[in-house]
């Protein structure tokens, strides 16, 4: 019985993560959020759901950047800017990225 409960909980967690990922992809596809040079998601078109999604993703990114910075002897800002460049590079065509002068453009 305990094994069944554990399996159900694991399955639920996996499904929720999948749904979350879909939300991020959907938000980018709908032009609600986009990538920035500072390594964090920005809100292109403000909706409560977009703000909440961006805040949650950015919190996770920041935790990861800090861990990477400590492991490699550099600053959090340096990691974030490297990540920002990579994120913009891998942004799909048609999704939004922020230019250095602060404008949102479709890639």
């Amino acid at each position: 019985m305990k094994i069944v409960k554990t399996m159900i909980a694991t399955l639920t967690l996996l499904l929720s993560m999948a749904a979350f990922a879909l939300d991020l992809d959907a938000a980018k596809s709908q032009g609600l959020v986009g990538e920035q040079t500072d390594g964090y998601l920005g809100v292109v078109k403000a909706t409560p759901a977009a703000v909440e999604l961006a805040a949650e993703i950015n919190q996770k990114r920041r935790d990861a950047y800090e861990r990477i910075a400590k492991q490699n002897g550099i600053t959090l800002d340096q990691v974030a800017r490297l990540a920002g460049q990579k994120a913009i590079d891998k942004t799909a065509t048609g999704q939004y990225v922020k230019t250095p002068d602060g404008q949102w453009v479709e890639k």
Binding site: Y65, N72, L76
Partner: protein
């Protein structure tokens, strides 16, 4: 004989029984009802009533018939009520009796005589004895601080009355004494004279006293009254009444025949002077009363004059324009004709003004009728017509109409409609009056429109309560700062009494979740924890505040809670952010010019959650601050913030033990920060530990200036007189006494063995997002030594290339007499270094060695090439998975 006596007794008993039955029958027919009969040293009645036209005219309790001849009755309580028809007017033509009727002798004693149901005056309960013998009536009545004696001799028709007492027995708010004496005849048409003296009279709230004398003569329906004030009479609210000449009035019944008065009321707003007199009887036909007079208003808040005259029981007020207190004005342009009668009607074309508002009547008529109801004279009145309101008030163009009637029976008519406009503000009020027809009055006013850019939709329900007015305020609006959500709803039960509005505990205002720009504002609520009192002194009460916090893409403010306690113009507030262990306390007071000022204190721990939106993560520490603030159209604030024991991380760069005092000034968006004394950091680890760092700081948040920078570094030190960030040009940083042994020890195990000290200067340009080094130079400050110990890695390098092997052999043990290093780095990360080493190798017979080395590398590209790129890629990939 016995039989005849028995028959006689039986006849007597039958006669007595018959008489009793007749008396009882007569009494019942007269409306007397009795209950609880008994016998205790005479006939007793627990309750009796005299009923007239289904109305209880007299009610008695505990009556004892002590004797039959002469009749002697004792009564514990006797209450008399007015049973005249409710709205029937008193008729002046009612015939007055020719005197008191003949009665058998009697004696009536009443312990408690209650006339409150008969006379609309606060008469005290009295003890009374009414005695009549040989048609000589005598009345004595007494109450605490009042006594009255009256006599009437029916044979001669002579009557007399004497009374005295404290004024407070009949006028509760007054002090002083009264004396009354009257006498005359009453045999047929009554006549007599009455004199009333009020001695040391005046309102209880005033210390000034005056004597008033009034004398009246009457014969039948004709009467004359003359009254005079010996001194000015102080009235409430600092008003004084003076009589320039005695008041003389004469009339017949309720009709005024002659009058002469010259009275003046003087008070804070000014003076009101009344002069009136009847026209000479020689100039008018007999039987017609007429006269004229003037009412004059003078003073700071009073102005105008009303000329009036009366003739044939019609009072005519000539056109007038009056200024009244509180910026009120009244004006009529046609003569107002007012019947001097108990009932009547008149047109009332008026214009009223208040500040910039004007009310003009269209059709306008007042009717009234004096009626007696429930023991008191009441005026049944009603105004009917239509009103038009126009004007400016508080900067708003106000317009309104109403048609209906208002009077002693309340309001009836169309809903009251008002509109108010100012710029883009437009408010429309609508209030039905259907519920204002009779007490308890109540209504619900609706308001819709826009105000200050806020759409407004609200209702104000109110109703009469035991203590005043009460109701519920409900309103909603949407704050224009919000692009989504942000709806404000207010629900507040309220009451109004004695000029104070009280919002009940639980009254609440709330703002729903919404977006301002890209910040998501969680719901905010304000709730009264107790009654909120609102009056001329301001607001008194406490409000609990709860905010769900703010959320944006890069930062977050956790939920906040607190209280605000208001007391008139004072307010104290406390806000806490428990997740941050932060607390802010502020107090303030309204200033005379509409501004406000106060003090504030704050205390907070430094916790990692604060760094969500920053490139640094606070690990621990404490912030405390105190200061002052001032609001006068713009916000100003100043204060000191003390930082102690602060630890911060910028990734692998860490600062430990930071402390300092920063003084801040805020003025309408401009910020100035300056350190008070040095800011110190125990350890700043940038890969190379910098210890005991001290500096001073000045900033406006866009430009930072660090001055007198000092720190210990690798056994030496660094100094910089000033470092600006961002800066337009390089700024020198001097380093000296750097111990090369500690430099070598930075790597574990050290690849080389070094000794000696170097120093120099490194010109740094700190850009907004870059760092450059321009012509940095280092040199030895004493002889240096270098030993490259044998190791597998060194051997591998030597084996790889003959030239390298030769160089390593030469450098393996070196005494350096001259060390020169130059370095530069541009904005995109290209670092150029050139090193020249001159010395000798003691293990090679002091072989002279000159070693030149140049190096060029892009440190940012190097960073990108490191494995962190893979880690970042993985992070970005997994979050999307």
């Amino acid at each position: 004989m016995l039989r005849r006596w028995a028959y006689g007794l039986l006849l007597l008993l039958a006669t007595m029984l018959l008489l009793i039955l007749v008396a009882v029958g007569w009494a019942y027919g007269a409306g007397v009802r009795v209950s609880e009969p008994g016998w205790q040293q005479g006939l007793t009645l627990g309750q009796w009533r005299l009923i007239r036209d289904n109305c209880v005219a007299v009610r008695g309790t505990d009556l004892t018939l002590e004797d039959v001849w002469p009749l002697k009755i004792k009564q514990r309580l006797l209450a008399v009520y007015d049973c005249r028809a409710g709205n029937a007017p008193e008729s002046s033509s009612e015939s007055f009796p020719d005197g008191l009727p003949w009665t058998p002798p009697f004696d009536l004693q009443v312990a408690e005589l209650d006339l409150s149901g008969l006379i609309d005056s606060p008469l005290p309960v009295m003890a009374m004895q009414l005695h009549q013998q040989e048609q000589h009536w005598q009345l004595q009545a007494s109450a605490p601080q009042a006594a009255l004696q009256a006599q009437y001799q029916r044979a001669q028709g002579h009557w007399m009355i004497n009374s005295e007492g404290a004024l407070s027995t009949v006028l509760p708010d007054w002090q002083g004494q009264w004396q009354l004496h009257g006498e005359g005849s009453w045999q047929g048409e009554p006549d007599g004279k009455i004199r009333l003296d009020m001695l040391s009279a005046g309102p209880a709230t005033q210390s000034q006293r005056a004597d008033l004398t009034a004398q009246a003569h009457f014969q039948g329906a004709d009467w004359q009254l003359q009254a005079d004030l010996a001194q000015p009479l102080a009235l409430n609210n600092d008003w004084q009444l003076t009589a320039a000449e005695p008041l003389a009035v004469a009339g017949s019944g309720v009709a005024l025949v002659q009058a002469s008065a010259a009275l003046q009321l003087a008070g804070p707003p000014g003076k009101v002077t009344l002069q009136a007199h009847s026209d000479s009887e020689a100039t008018i036909p007999a039987g017609l009363e007429q006269g004229r007079g003037t009412l004059r208003l003078q003073g700071d808040s009073l102005g105008g004059q009303v000329d009036f005259h009366w003739q044939d029981r019609v009072l005519v007020l000539e056109p007038a324009s009056l200024s009244l207190p509180q910026n009120l004005t009244a004006q009529w342009q046609e003569p107002l004709q007012i019947p001097m009668a108990r009932s009547g009607r008149t047109d009332l074309p008026l214009r009223l003004g208040y500040d910039g508002l004007n009310i003009k009547t269209g059709s306008s008529q007042v009717r009234w009728q004096l009626a007696a109801a429930e023991g008191a004279s009441q005026v049944d009145w009603q105004w009917a017509g239509d009103l038009v309101l126009r004007g400016q008030w508080q900067g708003y163009q106000v317009q309104g109409e109403w048609q209906g009637a208002v009077g002693s029976h309340g309001l009836e008519g169309d809903p009251i409609r008002l509109t108010a406009r100012q710029g883009n503000d437009r408010l429309a009020f609508l209030m039905p009056v259907s519920t204002l027809q009779q007490a308890p009055y109540g209504a619900e006013a609706k308001v819709t429109g826009n105000m200050s850019g806020y759409p407004l939709d609200g209702t104000l329900a109110f109703a009469q309560s035991d203590v005043g007015w009460a109701g519920t305020l409900q309103a909603s609006t949407t704050l224009p700062q919000f692009e989504r959500g942000g709806q404000v709803t207010v629900k507040a039960p309220w009451s109004l009494a004695d000029g104070t509005v009280s919002m009940a505990a639980g009254s609440q205002a709330s703002i729903s979740e919404g977006l301002i720009g890209q910040a998501l504002i969680r719901p905010v609520s304000l709730r009264a924890t107790g009654p909120l009192q609102i009056n001329g002194q301001g607001i008194t009460g406490t409000v609990a505040i709860h905010g769900g916090g703010l959320l944006a893409a890069r930062w977050r403010l956790p939920p906040i809670s607190g209280t605000a306690t208001m007391k008139g113009e004072q307010v104290q507030g406390r806000l806490t952010v428990s997740e941050w262990q932060s607390e802010l306390r502020a107090n303030g007071a309204l200033g005379k010019n509409g501004g406000a000022s106060g003090t504030l204190t704050m205390r907070s721990a430094l916790v990692p959650a604060m760094g969500v939106g920053l490139d640094a993560t606070p690990r621990q520490g404490q912030l405390e601050g105190k200061g002052r603030w001032q609001w006068r159209q713009t916000l100003k604030a100043s204060g000191d913030i003390t930082l102690t024991g602060a630890d911060l991380d910028w990734g692998s760069v860490t600062a430990r033990g930071a402390a300092g005092v920063i003084h801040g000034e805020y003025n309408n968006g401009d910020v100035q920060l300056s350190s008070t004394g040095p800011v110190t950091v125990d350890t700043l680890d940038i890969g190379t530990p910098i210890t005991d760092l001290t500096l001073t700081v000045n900033s406006d948040l866009s430009q930072w200036q660090f001055t007198d920078v000092r720190a210990d570094l690798l056994g030496g030190y660094l100094r910089s007189p000033a470092l600006d960030w961002p800066s337009a040009r390089p700024q020198p940083v001097v380093i000296s006494r750097i111990d090369l042994a500690q430099v070598a020890a930075l790597q574990n195990p050290p690849p080389v063995s070094l000794s000696g000290r170097i120093g120099g200067y490194v010109p740094l340009q700190l850009g907004a997002d870059f760092l450059t080094i321009e012509e940095g130079r280092l040199a030895n400050e004493e002889p240096l030594s270098l030993i490259i110990p044998a190791s597998s890695s060194v051997q591998a390098m030597a084996d790889s290339n003959q030239a390298v092997k030769l160089a390593l052999d030469s450098l393996s043990s070196l005494l350096i007499s001259d060390f020169q290093a130059r370095m530069a780095m541009d904005k995109v990360g290209w670092l150029d270094a050139a090193i020249t080493i001159k010395g000798i190798n003691p293990q090679r017979k002091n072989l002279p060695v000159v070693f030149n080395y140049t190096h060029r590398e892009n440190v940012l590209a190097l960073m990108r090439s490191l494995r962190i790129g893979d880690e970042i890629t993985e992070q970005l990939r997994t979050e999307n998975r």
